[in-house]
Symmetry: C2
Subunit: 182 residues, 2 copies
């Protein structure tokens, strides 16, 4: 139950998981409160502007967490292609992890933003920009690794866009084919 | 306003567009009725089981429409790689088409199922299976073209999965980067 996390953090973690699993629109504030075991009133205390403000924080925290994760993995292997392949395989393994891990907010392993990105791209400029920034941030980590490995900048940027695109597509396809269960 | 379409068809078209643009959960039945200019009561007359039944029909019609579209495009060029490249470029052009076309149900050009696929993958087995069947159907068209062009079956199936994955990923990325506006 991540009781050691502060109330604000628990709310953000619960929202992150619910927005990805059920979607932004289908997730009610009461459900977030219940899942985060937070006292009534704490949601508006920490997020006075409501659900959109909370979603913005969830996206930004996911951006930072995933950037850090990718960066750490890419540092393990020097060859850029090998390290990126390895990092994606680990990502896929995490998405396939068991039910018990799925329920842990702390592990955060199954976190993705693509459902909320699709849902809000045309309805909230604030959230669209936050998702765009997250995708760009992750792409930049791949691009930098490729550049460090000798790839020309333009080519590295193109490849990193393709990598990010394939990852996002793979999450949709895997969920739909029930290979993973976010 | 596609007045020449029957009421049932207008309801399905409106639902298809709304489910993709706003999402399955965010779209209310009243909005579908309004957009389809259908008389009150007609929705439950044609779809007595409600929103899920309507969504199933929307996904199935999209499956058939997109399969036909891909098939027609791939027939235009004999070389499989060239024909698939061409078909995807046309898809991208359609997604970039102007606002006026966007509002046409008839053109159906901007139709995709990936938002509803993401939203319902873990909440409705009926809709997950329908989306899975749609993705498989489209993949099979690419795979058959590759096989006809001399590719070995296993390799053709792998490539067609990659093609479909990249298309779905590209829709998310393009929407988030505001390159397209479904």
């Amino acid at each position: 139950m991540d009781a050691e996390l502060g109330t604000r953090d628990r709310i953000v973690k619960a929202a992150t998981v619910l927005f990805q699993n059920k979607g932004y629109h289908a997730t009610g504030l009461n459900e977030i409160l219940r899942k985060s075991n937070a006292p009534k009133g704490s949601l508006y205390y920490y997020f006075p502007d409501g659900k959109e403000q909370l979603a913005l924080e969830a996206i930004n925290q996911t951006k930072i967490f995933i950037e850090k994760t990718i960066r750490e993995r890419l540092e393990l292997i020097q060859d850029p292609a090998e390290s990126i392949k390895n990092s994606i395989e680990e990502m896929a393994d995490n998405l396939n992890a068991g039910e018990d891990e799925k329920l842990s907010f702390r592990s955060n392993k199954k976190v993705s933003i693509n459902l909320i990105a699709m849902e809000t791209a045309t309805s909230s400029e604030t959230l669209r920009k936050a998702c765009d920034s997250a995708f760009n941030t992750w792409q930049n980590v791949y691009a930098q690794k490729l550049i460090d490995g000798g790839f020309e900048r333009k080519r590295a940027e193109n490849l990193s866009l393709i990598i990010q695109t394939m990852i996002e597509g793979a999450i949709i396809m895997s969920l739909t084919k029930k290979v993973i269960n976010l």
